[in-house]
Amino acid sequence: MSGGHVARFTLAQRIEHFVLIISFNALAFTGLPQKYFQAGWAERIIQLLGGIERVRFIHRTFAVILLAEAAWHIGAVAAARRAGRERGDMNLSFRDVREVIGDIAYLLGLRAEKPAFGRFDYRQKLEYWAVVWGTAVMAITGLIMWFPETLARAFPGVLVPAARVAHGGEALLAILAVIIWHFYNAHFRPDIFPMDPAMWTGSIELERLRHDHRAEYERLAEAGLAGTEERPPS
């Protein structure tokens, strides 16, 4: 059994994730100094990058890259759904609420066993939907701030300062969530430190799947472990 791997992410998905890493970091690096402009470190970053106009130019460039990626992702999901490859592994349901409660009970030592998670557990789903929600909020509010004159042709102008507050708030939320949630679950968890290799290799060890995603493991086992292969992480 050990040594077996199950495909988890396609190459396209891994590239997508890599583009997300780059754009997210670039946006945070050029956005935070604009939010905390009065701080000394913000001033130094802006000077380092060559002034506020250049900082804004870089920020908008990566915003466009992220928008393009979001469009690609929606297209990819739609294509997968049409081709029948998409089984709704990321769909949220009442089962996730039960699993959150069950997991807390397990973590507190009230239960011996982890809930039998599907292909993606509630932590991963939460993170995925947080990225979807966050990107939507950031894109809408960012575009409002980029084109306030156009917006005010049909919508109240007060949306502009409101968008600015939301953009800053959502940014902070996203950055903190990544630092606490993603860094812990994908990097600093003691059993996977320094990183979960799945996003790098594209596959997950069968043994880990059995432990962390039992429902998915059992589903695959029933289907005769279809889609698994004996290959080391590349």
């Binding site: 604009q34 306030p148 005010a152 919508f155 007060v158 708030g169 939320l173």
Partner: protein, 327 residues
């Protein structure tokens, strides 16, 4: 047309005309030769004289910490930075005694004014001798009228302009620093309350325009901020109260004022401006509630995720301990 009119005259009285022209030409030449040479060296001599005169004053007035104590106990600094003065608009055009004629005598005659306010009023009369246009505009402005009514907090020429300094109003430094300059008074709630005004500076510095301007002041002091500063919307010397229908920021005029920089601004654009108010339930409520939403959501999310992380680590540690004991 003009040539056809001239030709006959020349033909008819050619000799007479030329004879008459000789003394005129000679007169101009001789007169010019007499007038021009003295006019040549004069400015140089005058400049030298001026420099000498200024040097006489600066022999004392460069000493640091020189002050004039008014009867009101207010202190006026009378130390001049010679480099900055020489480089300023005034330093190149006028001498000390142009504006301080009484002080040509040494020792200087006693200052007759009793308070800083009286002193500034007296000085602005000096400004008016040359800057007639600005002084006239200022007199009709909300600041000028408040001054005339006797409100001591209202500014005068020298409140905002230092006549001895190089910071000319067209420099990026002056532009980027304008909000701070206006903020000298408009950031002080105690002063503003007396006139039924809000300390708008505090709100401005956290608005779009204020943030960009602050960033330019901090990181690009050599470039003028492209974002609106106080005077871009409110006007400078001619500033009016926002409630005055003639004001550029009166509700009836504010969209037109926005469009002077945002020419494509839609008709609802002016409400993007939050009236220099800090968002509150009764001032830009949408902005306030969005702010409140994130003020709750961020700590709640961080708390929940943090708790799960701590629980996860706790479970891992307990398992490790159990395993250790089991061995």
């Amino acid at each position: 047309m003009r040539e056809s009119g001239l030709i006959p005259i020349v033909k008819v009285g050619r000799l007479v005309t030329f004879a008459r022209l000789v003394p005129i030409v000679l007169g101009v030449l001789i007169g010019g030769s007499l007038a021009v040479p003295p006019a040549g060296p004069a400015p140089v001599a005058r400049a030298q004289e001026a420099a000498q005169e200024n040097d006489t004053c600066l022999a004392c007035h460069t000493a640091p910490g020189m002050v004039l104590r008014l009867p009101s106990t207010e202190l006026i600094s009378v130390t001049i930075d010679p480099v900055r003065f020489k480089d300023s608009a005034h330093g190149r055009a006028v001498t000390c005694t142009t504006c301080h004629p009484d002080n040509a005598a040494v020792p200087h005659p006693a200052v007759k004014v009793r308070t800083m306010r009286e002193y500034r009023d007296l000085r602005s009369e000096v400004c008016a001798t040359c800057h007639t246009d600005a002084v006239e505009k200022f007199g009709a402005s909300v600041h000028g009228r408040a001054r005339q009514m006797g409100f001591g907090d209202a500014p005068n020429c020298t409140t905002c302009h230092n006549p001895h300094d190089a910071a000319r109003v067209k420099t990026p430094a002056f532009r980027n620093n304008t909000p701070q300059l206006c903020g000298t008074c408009h950031a002080d709630p105690a002063v503003m309350r007396k006139y039924g005004l809000r300390a708008v500076y505090t709100a401005y510095v956290s608005e779009f325009h204020g943030v960009t301007t602050a960033l330019y002041r901090l990181t690009e002091p050599q470039s003028p901020t492209p974002a609106a500063i106080c005077t871009d919307c409110h006007g400078g010397h001619a500033i009016r109260a926002a409630s005055d229908p003639a004001s550029t920021v009166h509700p009836a005029n504010v969209l037109a004022t926005c469009r002077s920089c945002h020419p494509t601004a839609g008709r609802f654009f002016a409400t993007a401006w939050t009236e220099h108010r800090t968002p509150a339930p009764d001032a830009s409520p949408l902005v306030f509630y969005v702010q409140l939403f994130y003020r709750i959501l961020i700590p709640a999310t961080v708390g929940f995720l943090g708790l799960l992380t701590v629980l996860d680590l706790g479970r891992w540690a307990t398992d490790q301990l159990r395993r250790g004991r089991g061995q």
